[in-house]
Symmetry: C2
């Protein structure tokens, strides 16, 4: 099984490739090669199969056609300009997130058609909860419309529509995953408005302080990086005949208030960790976060076998195991 991962230098892409390298298979099939691409060349993991890495701009047609030319069996299309940058740079966001996805889908279509229909890969597309925009019902169901309030969310929603149409046409076999917020994000605190959801867990676990810029009554839905990788693997291996033509799914997650996040941290790491969280309200962050979905009703994804953590405690423990070698530093 030949695998292509776009956006392979990103957090989920990197962890996905590491898991493929570690396990050597995808579902029941042995991985025979892995092609990792991103706008900067990704670092390959140690693997028992050939790993190719490359830098490519997916808004450029020749580069995209070259990616598909050796006919990967499974394509994980994770490459994207992130939300803030797509909002600041209109042209770049549309070029990468819309045109890039369409170029990739069309490259597969051309190879499908050139092969007389024999070539028809599984294509896993990273969408986002940003396809939804306020006002929301209490829980967002599988039939709630997509009314994004950012250019990023718009581009992701358009990708979902293309994915469904190209799948219905038989050019490839697509599955779109609307990721919830990934928490706990490893690395250093970042400037994204959602960063604090991770900061208030990751930093105290490392014995460092973290700012909480919103009320602890803010509710949000989370899944761990480990769960996000598992979503990708499951999407690549599930029986899509059970999906019909509605090919994008809201992924399950843990819907908790910030206060519940903090109590989970207390249970896992004690009062000393919680004491490192410093409330410092930030009106701008509060306003942005106020427009985000709080809770999803992810019946379809769950029926199709997608699983997230069942508590925020489990999300914290996954971070300690995967990023801290199982040791608290507080």
């Amino acid at each position: 099984m030949k695998i292509l991962v776009t956006g392979a230098a990103g957090m989920i892409g990197r962890k996905l490739c590491e898991r493929l390298a570690r396990e050597g298979k995808l579902g029941d099939a042995a991985v025979t090669s892995l092609h990792m691409v991103d706008v900067i060349e990704p670092k390959p993991p140690e693997a028992g199969f050939p790993v190719k890495t490359g830098a490519a701009d997916i808004s450029q047609e020749p580069a995209v056609r070259a990616l598909v030319s050796d006919k990967p069996d499974v394509i994980f299309h994770l490459a994207a300009i992130v939300s803030g940058e797509a909002e600041r740079d209109f042209d770049k966001g549309y070029a990468v997130n819309l045109d890039g996805s369409r170029l990739l889908f069309d490259a597969v279509r051309r190879d499908h058609q050139a092969s007389g229909g024999a070539y028809k890969p599984r294509l896993v597309y990273a969408s986002s909860a940003a396809v939804f925009g306020a006002p929301f019902p209490e829980g967002i169901t599988d039939e709630f419309h997509l009314t994004p309030l950012t250019s990023y969310g718009t581009q992701k929603a358009i990708g979902e529509l293309l994915l469904a149409d190209y799948s219905r046409r038989g050019f490839f076999d697509g599955v779109g995953l609307r990721f919830p917020t990934i928490c706990v994000r490893p690395g250093t605190p970042n400037a994204a408005a959602s960063g604090f959801f991770s900061n208030i867990i990751r930093e105290p676990l490392a014995g460092k302080g973290a700012v909480l810029p919103v009320s602890d009554q803010v509710r949000h839905t989370h899944a761990s990086p480990r769960a996000a990788v598992a979503f990708c693997i499951h999407a690549a291996t599930l029986d899509t005949s059970r999906m019909g033509w509605r090919r994008s799914l809201t992924m399950p997650g843990v819907s908790v208030t910030v206060a519940e996040q903090i109590e989970a941290l207390r249970r896992v790491a004690g009062d000393n960790a919680v004491a490192l969280i410093c409330p410092e309200r930030d009106e701008l962050v509060e306003r942005i976060v106020g427009g985000w979905p709080e809770k999803f009703v992810t019946r379809r994804a769950q029926e199709l076998g997608f699983k997230a953590e069942d508590s925020f405690d489990a999300i914290i423990r996954a971070h300690i195991e995967d990023e801290l070698g199982g040791r608290l530093r507080v």
Copy 2:
């Protein structure tokens, strides 16, 4: 007020231009010029203001930029490859319906930016009930998701997403209209699967026979050509500050069974007209029509002042007045 109409040779485009010519104004504003374009050059109506006509392929960027270069105040973007053709010719459908719309939106954006934001036209975009795909709830509400089952519906749904994002960004002031089936379509019977909804009314009113290829229990939603033109005019003149960023609306219509259509025909034109309808089931047409929406709950459009006929009788009478000079021929 300068007006541009794309798709001006189509049925709705032509009737819209005729009404603008007849009334000389759009809302309270006098029309100062009208530019009618289509892939074939439209015929201009008699008007008390200058009417320019032209042939243009809206999938070609220079042609599209030229359309917008004299900064129309209102743009009615009705041009599209129809459903059947977009399904048969994948590339052409995407080129005209997706790329054409995006080129038009981007041409406006460039002129908006070049003007320092001063140029910001109203843009009325013709979408379609084809953005919806089965399975459906009993009535499709304003919050039901878009899951098109045709490439045409996919392209229209993508146009809606772009329209909303470009409006949110302030490049123009967009309103998208999801038209129900237009009935009674004037002209000769056509091969579209939906054609019979009009044929079984129009042909008997002209003293001619018509085939009914489905059960008379099939339910469908209709609006007259006159109502469709009124939707366009209202969309061009309404106060969009009441819409928020959800810029596309399902238009109201009359939801009736074929049996109810036939009884309306009997009331308006008598038993002799009804006797001209010949039931002759066609499995293919039944299957296609079976996947279509039956009924919409169009609360938002109605609150914003969009009005359709209140009965199928009124739809038939509109046809008799507008197409038959008020006279029955049966």
